[in-house]
């Protein structure tokens, strides 16, 4: 799985969207994308999740994990998006639980590229929780 399948690539710091799949039969979205819905087996359509979402958990990794190219300590958390999908990702900066966040292209280590969550003042649909 390359990062292009996870989000729209762009220069670090640019707002982006997550690539998810959405099932019209049961309403669930999945990240990363799936061929069909793992919950109900129906066909899914490619979808793009832009948020904003609500930060549901905010923590950090303080000891160096095996295989990680990101150097500890670093921030991580969970963003909950409208519709109920919760995605685990890095945080671009320190954020409290409940913060309104968007998805951003992030350089977690020199030359690395992934998505992260950062605070936004954009008003999106109300978060569900």
């Amino acid at each position: 799985m390359t990062h292009q399948t996870l989000y729209d690539d762009a220069a670090p710091g640019t707002a982006t969207v997550l690539h998810v799949s959405t099932c019209d039969a049961c309403g669930r979205s999945e990240f990363p994308r799936r061929r069909d819905c793992p919950a109900c087996g129906s066909a899914v359509r490619d979808d793009r999740l832009s948020g904003p979402g609500r930060l549901r958990a905010s923590t950090a990794v303080l000891a160096q994990p095996p295989g990680s190219r990101v150097e500890a300590p670093y921030l991580a958390g969970v963003a909950e998006f409208p519709g109920g999908l919760c995605v685990i990702g890095l945080l671009a900066h320190e954020l409290p639980v409940g913060a309104r966040v968007e998805v951003v292209v992030h350089e977690p280590y020199p030359g690395g590229r992934t998505f992260a969550f950062r605070e936004t003042d954009l008003l999106g649909p109300p978060a569900t929780c």
């Binding site: 799985m1 390359t2 990062h3 996870l6 049961c26 669930r28 999945e30 990240f31 990363p32 793992p38 919950a39 109900c40 549901r56 958990a57 905010s58 923590t59 950090a60 990794v61 303080l62 000891a63 994990p65 095996p66 295989g67 990680s68 190219r69 990101v70 500890a72 670093y74 991580a76 958390g77 969970v78 909950e80 109920g84 999908l85 919760c86 995605v87 685990i88 990702g89 890095l90 639980v97 977690p108 690395g112 992934t114 569900t128 929780c129």
Partner: protein
């Protein structure tokens, strides 16, 4: 589960040892065979739970005991490995495919973070392939949704370490204070080092028999394996290593518990003690509601009431739990069963749960799987 009994149980202490995994597996297996009063030649099938050793690990353990030509099957399901092996062994005995089954769990895990938990490369290289991160998220969600505090998390660890003082098979047998737990090294907030179990080494084993076979052999002190439930991921479950989940998530443990209790034909109120998957302090609290010991939201109240401590209404982890024993992944579930068997036989010494007759064990592992087992004297 009809007419399946645990005829014998054995254990190799959990900790750090110079010995090979074969040595530890052998100690536990010989202990279980001796306790059941049988030899390897009486065994129809051997199931061996292990996560990380090498190819044909179970065969290498059995080779230490004898060459009877018995079928040996290796089972891997992360922290639920030995629950999965026990599930298969129990089904085989219940179905009549085997009269005597030997089930061994063994592990010699390296120190530190557990690697190879099933994360995808993009998660690992970007720092998201970290088990404690998942437990921290779970603990934060519990704190956000209930009145649970960080002090409650610390107190789970304090309780389990107090229990382990009396368990010669535990790795850490010293009491700790709330202050010590809170002041220990932060790993993933709110979790500190002393709120997380340490992957380590050890082994446990049981001999299962049909009740008829146990009676024929006049096995003393057999314990009924009343119920067992094993589940994998359902639509809205979440655990390591999934990168996303639904806001209204469901619980693997709750489904496994419902299956096991239904299989046993009893209710959670009939359970006298619980050994649960306290991979971290938050996981034990989450298990309280998942297993039905309390309503969701009442986890911290149950802990604070003292009900889950030794001497309380429903002691949880009287062995000291994984927080004190450490977690040899492939052996942890059978380690719980060893404790339950010891307890319902009334042989647990200073950590004995008074009047213990029915016990419940619970494991949950990476890759989304959970096993719950109910035993009864």
């Amino acid at each position: 589960m009809k007419d399946v009994v645990i005829a014998g149980a054995g254990i190799h202490p959990f900790g750090r040892f110079d010995s090979d995994y074969r040595d530890m597996g052998e100690v536990a297996a010989r202990g279980a065979l001796a306790d059941a009063g049988v030899g390897l030649s009486d065994v129809d099938i051997v199931l061996v739970a292990n996560v990380g050793a090498e190819m044909a690990k179970g065969h290498n353990v059995v080779e230490r005991i004898g060459r009877t030509g018995v079928p040996v099957i290796n089972v891997e399901a992360a922290c639920a490995s030995s629950g999965s092996a026990l599930f298969m062994a129990a089904q085989m005995v219940a179905s009549g495919a085997a009269e005597v089954a030997l089930c061994i769990g063994v592990e010699k895990a390296p120190r530190g973070f557990i690697a190879a938990s099933g994360f995808e490369p993009w998660q690992i290289e970007n720092g998201l392939g970290v088990n404690p991160l998942y437990f921290a998220i779970q603990a934060q969600e519990l704190i956000a949704a209930t009145d649970t505090t960080v002090e409650d998390l610390a107190d789970v660890s304090v309780k389990n370490h107090r229990h382990a003082v009396h368990n010669p098979n535990a790795m850490y047998r010293q009491e700790v204070t709330r202050e010590q737990v809170l002041a220990s090294k932060a790993i993933c907030p709110p979790l500190t080092l002393l709120m997380l179990c340490a992957p380590n080494e050890g082994a446990a084993a049981v001999v299962l028999m049909s009740r008829r076979e146990a009676e024929r052999r006049a096995v003393a002190d057999a314990v009924a394996l009343r119920g067992i439930g094993l589940v994998s991921r359902g639509p809205d479950d979440w655990f390591v290593p999934a990168a996303s989940y639904q806001a209204d998530r469901t619980s693997l443990s709750a489904r496994a518990a419902a299956l096991a209790l239904d299989d046993a034909g009893i209710g959670i109120d009939d359970i006298d003690l619980v050994e649960c998957q306290d991979t971290d302090a938050g996981s034990e609290l989450v298990a309280y509601a998942d297993l039905g010991l309390c309503k969701p939201g009442d986890e911290a109240s149950l802990l604070r009431s003292g009900a889950t401590a030794l001497g309380g209404r429903i002691p949880v982890n009287p062995s000291g739990g994984l927080l004190s024993k450490g977690e040899p992944l492939g052996a942890s579930g059978l380690g719980q069963v060893h404790e339950l068997v010891t307890q319902v036989r009334g042989r647990a010494g200073a950590r004995q749960v008074e009047g213990a007759r029915t016990g419940l064990g619970h494991v949950m592992g990476a890759g989304h799987n959970s096993c719950v087992v109910v035993v009864q004297r």
